[in-house]
Symmetry: C2
Subunit: 653 residues, 2 copies
């Protein structure tokens, strides 16, 4: 571990400039053009990119073919046939056709070549056999029911342009026009070297300070999706000679691109830059993008090198912003950035962004009422689940200070817009069973998804008021009346027609270390232990305040009252790690983390369903799910949940 | 070959009913549910579908980690630090941390675990080293610059839902939460048997009546794209015992699905239906879809069988309509039909559709002016290039009689809408060099495409008048003046500001058999040979009529005057096949098909560019390309082209 012997970045340059420097260096090295083609058999060509235009070798069909079962005739022979004066034509078997005179008909099946001196086919349904003749009651036009030679493709015509991604039907057109192989762009080879002494290969149990190395897995998969081949090397510790040896080994396999994946420590990043400078040219050291600043770009010989930052979101975004576009360039195809769907959405929160940085914010996108909403997810560069959950990426350009709540933002979608359209957005209090609900929801309403945002009970009501969610999950105790939910719903949404349907009763209590070493028996013990709280607006925090007041305890008596977490599981994790001695939360969270649990009481968790969305298929599915069947049964099996009122309408207004 | 011993279809049933019958049969056989999972290592899981929800085994991070390089402190120790009254903290190396008292600071790098009794990190940039102490000038909040345990994922939390397609970032989340493998849906195995005595494997030279078999290639690729594995068997001739043996062999490998690909002849289709009925249950014999009627669905034991029609478009559409949705069902994911983008476009032609049929029409989609236009492509079931060129599929439901020109039609897109947006639509006269132009266009304006429709010169002018194209290619002789293009442009588009830019001069002439067996010397010979004409409105036909009149020849003197083709290459193909003795067309088409050529004269082929689209990037690229550089040079090398005026503005109005 290198202690504070740090390179200060010379400058963070704009993304555009970084790309331009890389392009110039590649052009200078003769490495910017698309890769040459390699000939592959058609069955192996699916998804590959054509390296040249492909022209037809054969016409298709390569002869005039009957397009129906029936009789081939010379159209001019039939001109006198009418409904009232049927015409008879002599039937001649195909093998006897040579030298036949006019006025005859030759039986053909679909696909047969037209016999000589015929130019039309009469469908079998339209003739009347009479001995060795057929009778027809209408004239036929020349070329009727004939697939003329070259109807599909004429030899020498363009079948596929260059730089075309080969789809299943393209393979058919290639084969049909006489091709057995096709010249496609070589797959770029990408060497991937993870570096960092703190990194541990997946599959081993990490100790504190150790990090499971998975950026190589993510980047290799990105390379594969982008049409390249990735060669992942072993993890190299923060040791300059070892890293140099690893780079030399990787380069000996002639990769098109080398990715050096830094660990998250400052030390390894600096090694990489110094070494690239020593072994070749360091072109870029720091790019003004968020997340992802400490990107390195260089050239070692003719091989471009990208130093990928260690934080997983930064790493994945570096793959999207720099690696994929380069692989696209080499394959002669547009980058995914240019072909993905962009939409305009309304941001539900203020997105702050420093001037000078290109900021890429992960967002969930869902239509609510007339508006398409973009809700920013966690912006931490370490939170890879924010990319997993993201529907798209909002780009805040570097000359912008950010985007105010309610303003439009451009979002590049990761899914088809159709997926986005089929979303039910549930905001409000966190409950671990919402994930379970989501599973049953997707099963009940195929193609749809339930997206839940954890903003606390009050946050859920505010979201409904702003028309930023279809439903809200709440458990809000009125300290005066002891009632749940009804009073706050009425207070925050006085004019909104809605109903309140019970999700479940659930048990709240103190989550404590498994063997209860501090002998915590009730909330009265809080002043002598370290507590971890929920955020302002959370129903669990309201419950805590209510219980404290009942006991005559003050917030300032509680060590850790100001330490806020956003979910029950995060509170449980804080207790499990020893960072706190206890926290208030639902029994299921304590169980999930193998913690002890001191019951405090049962509370009612309801869903608020505004009438404005009652016709929404997702809302209807939600109501169906709560009203019996598999989901309540599954919920009832979870300790700490009681379904006695699940699905009941508690209140309407 | 079976001559007219045909099964009459009992009924063509609606697509919906056919799907319902298949679903019921699969449910009865216990084969409708999604396939069970198989455990695969993460690097092999890209693109696979989760078979169960995946929950986190480890929290991520699994310890409280420093998020910055700097010093770990106990936040409460810093409350008195201010700008004017800096606070000093004793620096203690990490290894000496046990039992240290309050008021100290421990150096940490990003990613390090927080030392015991610390709960915040001060960035190295914000401290001043003073001997073995540091000086700070501001208090820090608890948990500042700390990535708390579980910030990304808390153990037991949902990482990925069931039925989720695994992307690169998902692999990261799986590895980071302690997984090394993941349970994904087994890939369905699909056996593919092509049948038909007329079929020839790709790579052999077909004789008239023989067809290169490529439907198996297309269907196997569709299966692969849909996440399945295809096992393609050898072609089976139209022989019932051989087909039965092939089916039995295929079934012995326990496929999930069996596809029987009929040849195009009626015979093979009937074999298939009879055999399915004999070996199992025939559920469907004929579906009311266009193209694709003669689809067969059955069950042999527990294995569903789909009989796929022989025409390539019918076969590919059967893959999309029936095979892919079934593979999607088995993998627990939505069908591509449900996730592809649908748009509303305006049809530029009347689309007729018989009531009772679900009609799937291949269309090209392009925005012109304010409108998004859908132009139907050839509807022949044999024209696979219509699928290659299609941007999407317009669905005309079975209760509709079709859609009038100018009316909206729903189109399921094969590409991202972004690709559609970047289109230049050129309608008008066919020239073989338009494909060459398209290649240079895509190179000149990356990400854009030139789509050309061959509707003849007059058709191009009409398209401009209707605002259904950005540009038109024309070569229209005024028989009175001998001038090209200007007069007709003025006549058909009198009020449209535009300019006329020359594409090239090109040589027209009679395309004849290579050795000129009929000694055709000039147009005067036409009355004694078989001619093939271009369609009404084609500039080449105008030229023919002009030349005929000059020579005192009548249209009725010409055998084949009424036989119309839409492109120069199609005319050349008709001559090459012997279906006609000669036709009028450009020299390049004669050369492409190795034909002889009797020159008739040079003509000017211009592009009509309305001012309304002058700002369009594609129009600007077109003008750039014609004004020098690589494209005119390449054109000049083609026999029969003269670039002396290429790029010149001939006329403005």
């Amino acid at each position: 571990m290198v202690q504070h012997a740090r390179n200060v970045y010379l400058e963070d340059i704009p993304l555009e400039d970084a790309r331009a420097r890389l392009k110039s260096a590649l052009q200078a090295a003769g490495r910017w053009e698309a890769l040459p083609g390699e000939s592959v058999p058609l069955p192996a060509a699916l998804g590959r990119i054509t390296a040249t235009p492909v022209w037809a070798k054969l016409s298709s069909p390569h002869y005039h073919a009957a397009a129906m079962d029936g009789y081939a005739v010379w159209a001019a022979d039939t001109v006198n046939a009418t409904e009232t004066r049927p015409l008879k034509l002599r039937v001649i078997p195909r093998q006897d056709v040579a030298g036949h005179g006019p006025g005859c008909a030759i039986p053909v099946n679909t696909g047969d070549p037209l016999p000589p001196d015929t130019n039309a086919v009469i469908m079998i349904e339209h003739v009347q056999p009479v001995g060795d003749q057929i009778e027809i009651r209408a004239a036929v036009a020349s070329w009727q029911h004939v697939r003329p030679l070259g109807e599909d493709l004429v030899a020498t015509e363009l079948v596929l342009p260059v730089n075309h991604r080969i789809r299943p039907v393209d393979l058919g057109a290639l084969a049909g026009s006489g091709h057995v192989t096709v010249s496609v762009r070589r797959r770029p080879l990408v060497a991937v070297i993870p570096t960092g002494s703190e990194l541990l290969p997946a599959g081993e149990m990490p100790q504190p300070g150790q990090i499971i190395e998975y950026n190589s897995l993510v980047l290799a998969a990105q390379v594969q999706e982008a049409g390249g081949r990735a060669e992942v090397h072993d993890i190299v510790p923060d040791d300059v000679p070892k890293l140099q040896a690893a780079i030399e080994l990787a380069l000996s396999q002639s990769p098109d691109l080398l990715l050096l994946l830094s660990g998250s420590s400052a030390g390894s990043k600096d090694h990489t830059a110094a070494l690239v400078r020593e072994m070749g040219d360091l072109l870029v050291h720091g790019i003004a993008v968020r997340p992802g600043h400490p990107v390195i770009i260089g050239m070692i010989g003719r091989v471009p090198v990208i130093g990928v930052p260690g934080y997983p979101v930064s790493a994945a975004l570096t793959g999207e912003l720099l690696v994929e576009p380069l692989l696209a360039q080499w394959q002669g195809r547009p980058s995914a950035f240019d072909t993905r769907t962009h939409i305009q959405a309304t941001t539900t929160r203020k997105i702050q962004s420093p001037v000078g940085d290109d900021d890429f914010v992960r967002v969930v996108v869902a239509p609510v009422g007339e508006r398409l909403l973009a809700t920013p997810l966690s912006r931490g560069a370490g939170v890879i689940t924010s990319l997993v959950r993201a529907d798209g990426l909002a780009h805040i350009p570097r000359f912008s200070e950010g985007i105010d709540m309610g303003h439009p933002v451009d979002v590049m979608l990761y899914h088809a817009p159709e997926v986005i359209q089929r979303t039910l957005l549930l905001m409000g209090s966190h409950d671990p069973m919402l994930d379970l609900l989501g599973q049953y929801f997707a099963e009940h309403l195929p193609g749809w998804r339930l997206v839940s945002g954890h903003v606390g009970s009050l946050g859920g009501l505010v979201a409904l008021r702003r028309r930023e969610a279809h439903a809200a999950g709440v458990h809000l105790l009125n300290p005066q009346t002891g009632n749940y939910n009804v009073d706050d719903v009425h207070k925050y949404l006085p004019d909104e027609p809605l109903m309140l349907v019970t999700f479940a009763h659930r048990e709240q209590g103190l989550m404590i270390a498994p063997d209860n070493p501090l002998s915590i028996q009730s909330l009265n013990d809080l002043p002598r232990v370290r507590f971890v709280n929920r955020q302002r607006g959370a129903g669990t925090r309201v419950l805590l305040d209510y219980e404290l007041e009942k006991r005559g305890l003050s917030q300032s008596d509680i060590v850790g009252y100001e330490r806020e977490e956003y979910t029950h599981l995060a509170v449980a994790a804080a207790v499990a790690s020893g960072a706190a001695d206890c926290g208030l939360g639902v029994r299921s969270a304590a169980l999930a983390m193998n913690l002890g649990f001191v019951p405090v009481g049962w509370e009612r968790y309801d869903l608020v369903l505004p009438s404005a969305y009652h016709e929404h298929p997702g809302v209807q599915a939600l109501v169906d799910l709560l009203n019996g069947g598999k989901f309540p049964a599954a919920l009832a099996e979870q300790p700490g949940y009681d379904i006695r009122e699940t699905g009941q309408v508690q209140y309407r207004q």
